[in-house]
């Protein structure tokens, strides 16, 4: 177990392992994404209230759910950086911040498009919108702090602390705004019952889309992390070998 753990911390090991993972992830994403998108856009029945606009949900919900997962992930990676000083964890933490900011921005944008159709307004100071907006600011803060500190080691630790503080704050922000103003509907339950408000024909494609976007997120994270590995390890022998091999091909 510990051997595995320390191995996982080695950037080279991760780089080589992710080489093997990536093709499978690409295939999985293509399959899930095409099945999910086609099903959601062409075959899901129209909602009796929202009509065609219900299809925005199949982009909005996956993107929003991932944007919520990014901050805890960054905090966990930060904790590992602080406790075990694992290089790879900080590379992941650094890579996840811009992705998290993008996904939060996308969730806000797709929500605005949906909201324009359903609520009749692009923006409302509703609880979930506001807490997502503040989470977006928190991501920007982490990215800004990272780019402001020159020493890589100090930046890693400082961002780890900010990520942990932010992650403790995210639920507090969420509950305080929720309680301040709520327009957003609560998440609906998944139900197997075909006559329930949410029959399987509605939520199965949603689950497929969620997993597709999750795989996409993992791919993006791995690619960013691999870039980071190459950049930081550019003086180590295995990277030099790798680059010279690529050049000769």
């Amino acid at each position: 177990m510990w051997l595995w753990f320390s191995k996982l911390g080695s950037p080279r090991w991760f780089y080589e392992l992710s080489n093997k993972w990536l093709p499978w992830l690409y295939v999985a994403m293509m399959v899930l994404m095409s099945v999910g998108l086609l099903w959601a856009l062409l075959f899901v029945p129209e909602d009796y209230q929202q009509g065609q606009t219900i299809r925005i949900m199949y982009v909005h919900v996956p993107v929003a759910s991932i944007s919520l997962a990014c901050f805890p992930l960054m905090a966990v990676a930060g904790t590992i950086t602080l406790v075990w000083k694992m290089k790879l964890a900080d590379m992941v933490a650094k890579s996840v911040a811009p992705i998290g900011a993008w996904f939060t921005g996308l969730a806000l944008a797709s929500g605005a498009i949906w909201g324009d159709q359903i609520w009749g307004t692009w923006w409302a100071w509703d609880a979930r919108l506001t807490s997502l907006l503040i989470q977006f600011f928190l991501f920007i803060g982490v990215i800004a702090l990272r780019s402001a500190i020159e020493s890589q080691d100090a930046a890693a630790k400082a961002c780890a602390i900010l990520a942990i503080v932010g992650a403790i704050n995210v639920p507090i922000i969420k509950y305080s705004v929720e309680w301040w103003n709520t327009l957003h509907q609560p998440a609906s339950d998944f139900s197997m019952d075909p006559v329930a408000p949410n029959p399987p024909e509605v939520w199965v494609p949603l689950l497929i889309m969620i997993s597709a976007v999750y795989v996409f997120f993992v791919i993006a994270l791995i690619l960013r992390t691999r870039n980071e590995i190459l950049q930081r390890e550019r003086r180590s022998q295995w990277v030099i070998d790798l680059v010279s091999r690529e050049k000769s091909v």
């Binding site: 803060g141 800004a144 402001a148 500190i149 100090a154 630790k157 400082a158 704050n169 705004v177």
Partner: protein
């Protein structure tokens, strides 16, 4: 009081003594630099007086936004004065002495944060009824405003301290401090301003105070730890 760990010369004072000494030192320094003491208060006054100019002199409209205006201005005033918290100590090296001292850094940071609140937060709390009056806040909400600020501004100092500790070694830190600290302060702002607005509508506010108190308790116990860890990273 626990007997202090004695691991060398000069460490024979208790944590409590070190706490008091740090608090006293910061207050003395602040009172010797009258500008640092006055600037946050003046800033608070000026920002609050800008709002009627920008919105409207109409009492009805102003009384609607008064709670939020006072709260946002208090938040900005607290943030503006944060830079004094560790900056001068960082530059003259006394921050390093603080980090090297055998006493737990948690209490020293807490003392500095309390000093910062006494200098920048408390005057804002004391002045707030006057400004609330100028903004036509209904008189039944005065006490709620003062009390929420009383509980809320220490949280602003404690959270802000984390941001300053993270950025103290940086050259250009003014804006990045705001980007880091302001989003963290939103729960306090929301609950504090909401409590005052609810009182104006005759709604019960006990739960708001309970939440603010809970956030203060959390900030008191956790934030100095994060500040201490951040200081150890920034000072290297």
């Amino acid at each position: 009081m626990n007997k202090p760990l004695s691991d060398g010369a000069g460490s024979d004072i208790s944590t409590w003594q070190a706490f008091c000494a740090t608090l006293k030192r910061d207050l003395v320094i602040a009172f010797k630099r009258k500008n640092d003491l006055l600037n946050p208060i003046m800033f608070f006054l000026i920002v609050v007086s800008l709002f009627p100019l920008g919105i409207s002199p109409d009492p009805v409209e102003l009384s609607k936004v008064s709670a939020g205006v006072v709260w946002v201005s208090a938040l900005l005033a607290s943030m503006l004065s944060l830079d004094n918290l560790y900056r001068a100590d960082y530059e003259d090296g006394s921050l390093e002495q603080l980090l090297l001292s055998p006493q737990p850094l948690y209490f020293l940071v807490l003392a500095k944060n309390i000093a910062h609140w006494l200098i920048s937060g408390l005057p804002v709390v004391v002045l707030s009824p006057l400004l609330a009056y100028m903004l036509y806040l209904p008189s039944e909400a005065y006490w709620t405003l003062v009390l929420t600020l009383m509980i809320g501004t220490p949280v602003l100092s404690l959270f802000g301290s984390i941001g300053v500790a993270l950025t103290v070694g940086l050259g250009s830190r003014g804006l990045i401090l705001a980007v880091i600290v302001l989003p963290l302060s939103t729960p306090v702002l929301i609950i504090g301003a909401k409590a005052v607005t609810d009182v104006m509508f005759g709604l019960p506010v006990g739960s708001h105070f309970a939440l603010l108190g809970a956030i203060l308790a959390l900030a008191l116990t956790m934030a100095p730890l994060a500040s201490a860890a951040a200081l150890r990273i920034s000072v290297n």
